[in-house]
């Protein structure tokens, strides 16, 4: 059932959100499904289809309720709770029934199918991605769909290996850390930490070539000189900040209609250091709010953009003896499989909480409904709350 927030304080809304999340995790075996089908689609009154834009932000590395939406965790996400949640439709129960590795889970989010590819290889998703559906169905140019991804392993996420759809209908992928490597001309002896590919296998980074292409991206696509890029990178504290910086440049220079950003600072939790995990949550919280401000102030995006924010999955609970609490997502327990999604912006009902379970594969069909394409091979179902 849905609860509409009355005109109440952010504090009340935060409490309502926290209680809902907490309650559903307490009874993870099953909640009463939502019945929040509205009388008319909010998108009927939204921006026109041609101008509509969608930005999806995923966290590669979930954050648990006790560090976020539960009372003790609220101090870590002030921006999500007080600035974004009151303006959002909030889905409390997003279940991921697939493999809990970040690349394969993100690939599943982009295809609407639980992919089974090797999480640690730079291989394309097996099924058509949202970018291919979007561009082919709507005949959009390649400049209209972009992915900003944290690690080399995500290099192939923009386009599937599904032959009848490709090649050529995918999104362009930009890897900010790879870009930085190229800009530094290989002088990265002291940047291993920054350029670490991912936190699940910190010692491995699939090798990518194409330095020339990366530098071309800088100058032709992002309209940035190498020196300006390097100078700005030196002012940032984390790879996700670099990703947001690149995303902002993309929005200003290319204004894609479909932009997918994956963040992964939170996944430092794999190192077992709770304080760094909390820092990652707080930084991601801040960056989400910054992205929303960019959306609201960029002329191409203001008023016609729908933003989706969701972790790709959760993390292990403290109670599961098979795991080690926040550190990993290996047990497949309800806490590691269950997360949330926030939607805000154009066409979204503000201040609504939906408790009914949805699957992470439902995202692509939902985007199809919003943007007007048909993801024929996706396994998920469109969220009725957006119909």
């Amino acid at each position: 059932m849905s609860d509409r927030f009355p005109a109440c304080s952010p504090r009340d809304i935060a409490r309502a959100l926290a209680c809902t999340r907490r309650d559903f995790l307490r009874s993870a075996a099953g909640l009463v499904a939502g019945s929040a089908v509205m009388s008319a689609s909010p998108f009927v009154f939204g921006a026109t289809a041609r101008k509509r834009k969608v930005i999806v932000v995923t966290f590669g590395g979930g954050a648990r309720d006790q560090e976020t939406f539960a009372p003790d965790g609220q101090q870590n996400i002030p921006h999500l709770l007080q600035e974004l949640a009151p303006r959002s439709s909030f889905f409390t129960q997003v279940v991921n029934r697939g493999i809990l590795g970040h690349y394969v889970a993100t690939a599943s989010l982009t295809t609407g199918v639980y992919e089974t590819l090797n999480n640690f290889s730079a291989v394309p998703p097996e099924h058509p991605t949202v970018f291919e559906y979007f561009r082919k169905d709507l005949n959009r140019p390649i400049s209209d769909a972009w992915v900003v991804a944290p690690s080399n392993g995500f290099n192939r996420i923009g386009e599937s290996g599904y032959r009848s759809y490709g090649p050529g209908w995918g999104a362009r992928v930009i890897l900010p850390k790879h870009l930085l490597t190229a800009a530094m001309s290989g002088a990265t002896t002291d940047y291993e930490h920054l350029l670490r590919d991912n936190y699940e296998t910190p010692l491995y980074a699939p090798q990518l070539g194409g330095t020339e292409f990366e530098l071309e991206q800088l100058e032709m696509v992002l309209k940035l000189s190498v020196e300006d890029f390097k100078a700005h990178a030196k002012t940032l504290s984390s790879p996700d900040e670099l990703s947001l910086y690149i995303a902002r440049q993309l929005m200003r220079q290319q204004a894609p209609s479909l932009l997918w950003i994956t963040m992964h600072d939170i996944d430092v939790a794999h190192a077992g250091t709770y304080s760094l995990y909390i820092e990652g949550i707080r930084r991601t919280d801040r960056l989400c709010a910054e992205l929303w401000k960019i959306i609201e102030t960029e002329p191409e995006y203001a008023g016609n953009t729908t933003l989706f924010i969701l972790p790709d999955f959760g993390r292990d609970s403290d109670e599961d003896a098979g795991g080690n609490g926040f550190q990993h997502h290996r047990t497949g327990d309800p806490a590691s499989r269950t997360t949330w999604m926030m939607a805000l912006g154009a066409g979204v009902r503000e201040g609504v909480v939906y408790d009914r379970p949805m699957q992470s594969t439902d995202l692509v069909p939902t985007l199809g409904c919003i943007m007007g394409f048909t993801p024929t091979l996706a396994q998920g179902k469109p969220l009725t709350e957006f119909l």
């Binding site: 029934r97 930490h193 010692l203 790879p239 077992g272 250091t273 080690n324």
Partner: protein, 401 residues
């Protein structure tokens, strides 16, 4: 091959005691499904390097299984029998390398969406085994101690948020000679109740002077091992064809001798120390992670009755802009380490409570050099606070009363 085709020769590569155990239980092993058996064989294969509590668990489990009728075997393992195993796994040398099988089986279960069914089957099986082998209560009530916040002058962080609701918060602790007092207390327990691997002292830095009756594992004491392991890993990574899965398999097969550990040392403890680094994530980099994971594994495996963990100061995680300015990588982060230690202490308590006798177990966490502590014990009311002045000796007396 299938379990029914097992022969004694297939255990030739096992260490002596493991081989003997496997051969003695060959008939029992042949009756078990392939989706389950390698998990048990992995435990048997490591038998020579297991702690006494682990050995009792393995032999007890085999004893229960050998007593089951064919109908009971079918009933107990019905859920496992319904799980598919890939032909590649079936054809592998799973008796000789059960650990490798289990790793690859895990990947297969994830990719075929059978993991949840496997979890249910494993949980059901574990419940049956626990019912068949009632847990032995410890000879004395367990005592866990965590010392956190080394080197922190003051903090605005509210400490012990997770543990306060389970115990009594003390706000006027006299910190004088606290580390020494606590170490002497655990030494006295070790002297009064000598048990093999029964009393541990884990230090995330340089260990303080302590009784030889304690099993001591420390970050500084294992510096040479960490360095050797990292060199070894780098060499392996540079090899063609090496990937994350291959590296994990390689690490699982390393022995203490491969990394130059003292051959005269206790092999059980040497293997334990090695696995802290080869199986733990972040244990090679951050001392707070090392202390938490070492305690977790010691509690899970050795089931000690005394566990004192002193969290040290870990190195900083450098932000991106500092990487450009070449700030010292080894600079310490005491404030972050305090937060890590606070959560680590909570996990120590959780892991202690998973062991038999938890209803009588005691736990004390203290902010080193300061006047804050929480004591959890059946004799202390949960969720309460005391503002009375108390020494650490007082707290130990109350918590173990």
């Amino acid at each position: 091959m299938l379990p029914r085709d097992l022969t004694a020769d297939q255990f030739a590569g096992y260490p002596p005691e493991a081989r003997k155990l496997a051969v003695a239980n060959l008939d029992t092993l042949r009756r078990l499904p392939l989706s389950f058996l390698p998990s048990l064989l992995r435990e048997i294969a490591g038998f020579d390097y297991k702690f006494p509590a682990e050995r009792r668990a393995v032999t007890g489990e085999l004893s229960v299984l050998s007593g089951l009728t064919p109908a009971q075997i079918a009933e107990w393992f019905q859920a496992f029998s319904q799980l598919s195993v890939s032909p590649k796994l079936e054809q592998s040398d799973w008796p000789g390398h059960p650990g490798k099988f289990v790793e690859q089986q895990s990947e297969y279960l994830w990719s075929t969406h059978q993991l949840d069914a496997f979890r249910r089957a494993a949980t059901e099986y574990g419940d049956r085994i626990h019912a068949a082998i009632p847990p032995e209560p410890p000879p004395i009530n367990r005592l866990g101690i965590a010392i956190i916040g080394q080197g922190v002058a003051s903090t605005g962080e509210p400490l012990f948020r997770n543990l306060r609701k389970h115990g009594t918060y003390f706000a006027q602790v006299k910190p004088d000679n606290g580390v020494r007092v606590l170490l002497e207390a655990v030494a006295a327990r070790a002297a009064a109740h000598p048990l093999p691997y029964g009393h541990w002292y884990i230090d995330g830095g340089q260990p303080a002077e302590h009784s030889p009756a304690l099993i001591c594992v420390s970050w500084h004491g294992l510096e040479a091992l960490r360095a050797a392991l990292l060199r070894n890993m780098q060499a392996q990574i540079a090899r063609p064809g090496m990937g994350p899965e291959e590296l994990r398999t390689y690490l699982a097969q390393l022995t203490p001798a491969d990394l130059g550990m003292d051959r005269s040392a206790d092999p059980v403890l040497s293997y334990f120390q090695l696995k802290v680094f080869t199986e733990g994530s972040g244990t090679q980099i951050f001392s707070t992670t090392f202390a938490q994971w070492t305690a977790r594994e010691a509690l899970r495996r050795a089931q000690p009755v005394t566990m004192l963990v002193r969290f040290g100061v870990r190195q900083r995680q450098r932000p991106m802009n500092e990487l450009f300015s070449k700030v010292d990588a080894s600079a310490p982060d005491p404030a972050g380490s305090l937060i890590d230690g606070d959560m680590g202490a909570y996990y120590n308590w959780i892991n202690q409570q998973r062991l038999p006798g938890s209803e009588r177990s005691c736990f004390l966490v203290w902010f080193e050099g300061h006047n804050q502590a929480v004591a959890v014990s059946p004799s202390l009311a949960p969720g309460t606070q005391s503002t009375s002045a108390a020494t650490l000796t007082d707290l130990l007396t109350w918590v173990t009363a």
